[in-house]
Symmetry: C2
Subunit: 341 residues, 2 copies
């Protein structure tokens, strides 16, 4: 096999928002597979806010990406050749394939996707992928959402938030989401079935807006952003509320230490808790959650929204759309033609 | 009954540290008891950090004290007359008697103390009172401390913290406490049996000191102070840690909005939670906890430390000792002679 590979590697560690020179585009021959390995042609790559953290030289729940290394990314693709009895050419697979056109990797690190499940490939990176699983375990396990609860979620038009709100509705909760701009807010209430939406870009007081949308207080606040939205949500906790710390995109490009939530003593007044989690800890229950998510998706009770950016070479620019908010739902990069699309 | 009463009322709402003119000393005849009421001669009053919050015009978990009102305070005393079949003259009682020499109040709002339980009266305000109960439920229920855990507690030489550390040891945990100055730190390790003490006034880095004392990370951080200590503790959480928010004395006299804990995302990295609580929610389990605390006290496994300030009229000044740290263990005011002392 002599096909040329295109790889996106980390060239420099950014301060603040990443710039194009923080990345390098490298061409190299596709590495031949060893025993037990296969070559995957990548079709879609997932772009996730957590990637910004992996660019820093700080160990979080997983190590940072090293300088010069192909950037870590989840993706779906097709096996094109291999030396493993477990996967055959043509198999569709999911795995941490990295930002590259072809990934030569162990078959055991890949998950074979069902051939005709009626699921579009990007959904394996969104509703049925880590964002959907994150929403599921964060809302039900960490947030312990109960029917009748008011669930507030930030970045509600994003990959995780949009699923959180819809799962809340399926579970019999009231769902309130925050998003940037009237179009996204309309999407929440008119397409995804949220009970109310808060436009954080409107210039209105977030505290007043949350108070108006959550008159009995917030039972579960699912936080993807941190910053002023977390601060405002803490002012409206119901007794015994659960604040689920899933992410903090507001802070990821900050160059100085973040301000913490000054209202944290609200946890005491309202006997509430704030809890962080990492979806990887739930790996032994992914199958259970995926089966439920897939069922709701098939029934039409869970809607998928995907924004597709074109071309591997544009992945670094596309990543910035997570921070500008210029996308809806799950953001993926199309690297090769989708056989089903 | 014509005895004159001395009462301490709230005269003004302080900004920052209270000053003497925020209080008034009022004399008035002792009110005659109605049916169902008794007159209590107060012997000891409890001084608690939460009192500072009650001076602000902000509803927290209980309403603030009104201007002109006798200041709310728990105390122990002796019934001197009454019109209730439930209490007789000479009975020792506990209740929210207020900052005054004589409290005329409903017998049903008082708890009769056992006559010869071998417990000193101030202990009903400390180890066996709300501070001890707060330590018990905060450590075991909210903090879910397990044998083998490292338990870090701030204000560890205080009424609550000193019990938290001792209960941690009784439960088979490693106990580390922070306190101000070498004498208090020695008290923790040499008298109360803590495994290590951190002197927050030493000028050393709190973060380094916690790291050195808690090499495997902190499983339970019981926080009474907030501020830099909370910030530093968040940097050393073990996987799945519990941060118990009991109080925040660092912030109680602040005149501007507090800085929140910038390191709160450590909750995500370490799958940890931060949870607030109010001891009053455990009222139906006080008897269970008191029986255990009294047992450990009788066995000598739990040591009581009380600082006594003399004279009701000095209560406002004595309250400031909670913020300057000029006391050890539980701070009480002696209002009348203790029959047992």
């Amino acid at each position: 096999m002599t096909t040329e590979n295109l790889q996106i590697t980390l060239a420099a560690r950014p301060r603040g928002l990443p710039v194009d020179t923080d990345w390098a585009r490298v061409t190299a021959p596709v590495r031949e597979p060893d025993d037990g390995e296969v070559v995957v042609e990548v079709i879609y790559l997932s772009l996730d806010p957590a990637m910004r953290g992996w660019m820093n030289d700080i160990r979080s729940y997983i190590p940072p990406v090293k300088l010069g290394e192909v950037f870590r990314a989840a993706g779906v693709g097709r096996v094109i050749e291999g030396r493993s009895p477990d996967l055959s050419a043509g198999d569709l697979v999911y795995g941490i394939v990295g930002m590259q056109r072809y990934a030569t990797m162990k078959a055991s690190a890949l998950e074979r996707l069902p051939a005709d499940a009626g699921v579009s490939l990007p959904d394996y990176l969104g509703v049925l992928g880590l964002p959907g699983l994150t929403a599921y375990f964060g809302l039900f396990d960490v947030g312990a959402a109960q029917p009748g609860d008011t669930v507030l979620v930030s970045a509600a038009s994003g990959a995780v938030g949009s699923v959180v709100g819809q799962l809340a509705k399926i579970h019999g909760c009231r769902a309130v989401g925050s998003a940037g701009g009237p179009d996204k807010c309309r999407h929440l209430t008119e397409v995804l079935g949220f009970d109310a939406a808060i436009d954080y870009k409107s210039g209105d007081s977030l505290t007043r807006a949350i108070g108006a949308a959550c008159r009995d207080g917030v039972n579960v606040y699912f936080d993807n952003v941190g910053g002023p939205m977390l601060e405002a949500a803490l002012r409206h906790l119901a007794r015994g509320a659960r604040v689920v710390i899933c992410g903090a995109i507001h802070h990821y490009n900050e160059t100085s230490a973040p301000r913490g939530p000054a209202g944290y003593l609200s946890l005491l007044v309202h006997r509430a808790r704030m809890e962080g989690f990492v979806v990887f800890d739930y790996a032994d229950r992914y199958a259970e959650a995926r089966a439920k998510l897939a069922g709701w998706l098939a029934e039409g009770r869970l809607k998928s929204q995907v924004t597709i950016a074109e071309g591997l070479e544009n992945a670094p620019q596309a990543l910035l759309r997570l921070f500008s908010g210029d996308k809806l739902g799950k953001l993926v990069v199309r690297v090769a033609d989708d056989p089903a699309a």
